[in-house]
């Protein structure tokens, strides 16, 4: 783009504002940057921050006046969360083996399910789905084993088994859903402002 000659400060300022407003309409951004480049071209380098404020303040004021939402930055992922995710990924194949080996016995079922729940809580979305599938399989197995006891038999036992499996799966998914996911646009406060 053909721009007036800018000082190093002016160029940096313009670039920073461009980055901060990267999400707005291209036409609006180009128009703003053209005006801002004109302005920066006329301002002495020493007066840039005094006149315009920081690039962050400038971009924030622009959004506020333009009636634009301010996107929330992605929460930084802590080192401990990264370690937990790696462990969770490594534990996934073991989870399958555990399920095949012990899950078939009713007494171990809840313990295996609890471990899967903890791992799902610290897992990113794709792994959480995998853990949820494993949990659903286990829940089905628990439901099936319940029908195999002498307490209940026949159709009522099957119905109770299916309901128990469904409730376990539902509870599992509901309690692990929001942990590692980035906020969706619906989670953003529509009136969040600087």
């Amino acid at each position: 783009m053909n721009r007036p000659h800018l000082s190093a400060t002016g160029t940096q300022y313009l670039k920073r504002v461009e980055d901060l407003l990267a999400d707005i309409d291209d036409d609006d951004r180009a128009s703003l940057l053209a005006d801002l480049a004109d302005q920066l071209g006329e301002l002495p380098e020493s007066e840039v921050s005094e006149r315009l404020g920081t690039p962050e303040a400038f971009a924030g004021e622009y959004r506020h006046s333009a009636g634009l939402e301010i996107p929330l930055p992605s929460p930084p992922r802590s080192q401990s969360a990264a370690i937990a995710m790696t462990l969770s990924a490594l534990a996934l194949p073991f989870g399958v083996l555990v399920l095949l080996s012990f899950g078939g016995q009713l007494v171990f079922g809840p313990f295996v399910l609890a471990i899967e729940w903890i791992l799902a809580r610290v897992s990113p979305r794709p792994l959480r789905i995998a853990w949820s599938l494993l949990a659903a399989l286990l829940a089905g197995e628990i439901g099936y084993l319940l029908t195999d006891t002498h307490v209940m038999e026949g159709v009522p036992a099957v119905v109770v088994g299916v309901v128990v499996a469904g409730l376990i799966t539902l509870l599992f998914n509901r309690t692990t859903r929001h942990n590692a996911d980035p906020p969706s646009s619906n989670d953003l406060d529509p009136v969040h402002r600087r």
């Binding site: 783009m1 053909n2 721009r3 007036p4 609006d28 180009a30 128009s31 703003l32 940057l33 053209a34 005006d35 801002l36 480049a37 004109d38 302005q39 071209g41 006149r51 315009l52 404020g53 303040a57 400038f58 971009a59 924030g60 004021e61 622009y62 959004r63 506020h64 006046s65 333009a66 009636g67 634009l68």
Partner: protein, 108 residues
């Protein structure tokens, strides 16, 4: 009283008024408003207000090539903008008349 806060509430009207009968681009409008006495104005708020009023279809825009820099977006008031300016002006006159009465009334 902070003049910048008062102006903020009237910025839409000030921008519409400054665009009456003229076609101009963002930075030129900033300069014009400052020359008229709005020294405290936050420049970014003028650019943002222009964008919002344009989206509200109160302004018409036109991209004009420039010999000295990038193409500039020039704004003019359209029919809806003129009507909005008339409404805002009436509101402003009512507010100032009320304030005059309050500030100038003698104590009883």
């Amino acid at each position: 009283m902070d003049p910048a806060q008062v102006l903020k509430g009237m910025l839409d009207t000030a921008v519409l008024g400054a665009l009456r009968g003229r076609r101009t681009y963002g930075y030129n409008l900033v300069r014009h408003l400052r020359e008229q006495g709005f020294a405290e104005i936050a420049d970014a708020s003028v650019y943002g207000t222009l964008r919002r009023l344009h989206r509200a279809e109160l302004l018409t825009s036109e991209i004009v090539e420039s010999e000295t820099g990038p193409p500039r977006k020039y704004y003019t008031l359209n029919e809806a903008g003129v009507a909005e300016l008339a409404r805002s002006t009436k509101t402003w006159e009512e507010i100032t008349a009320t304030m005059d009465r309050i500030l100038n009334q003698e104590g009883t």
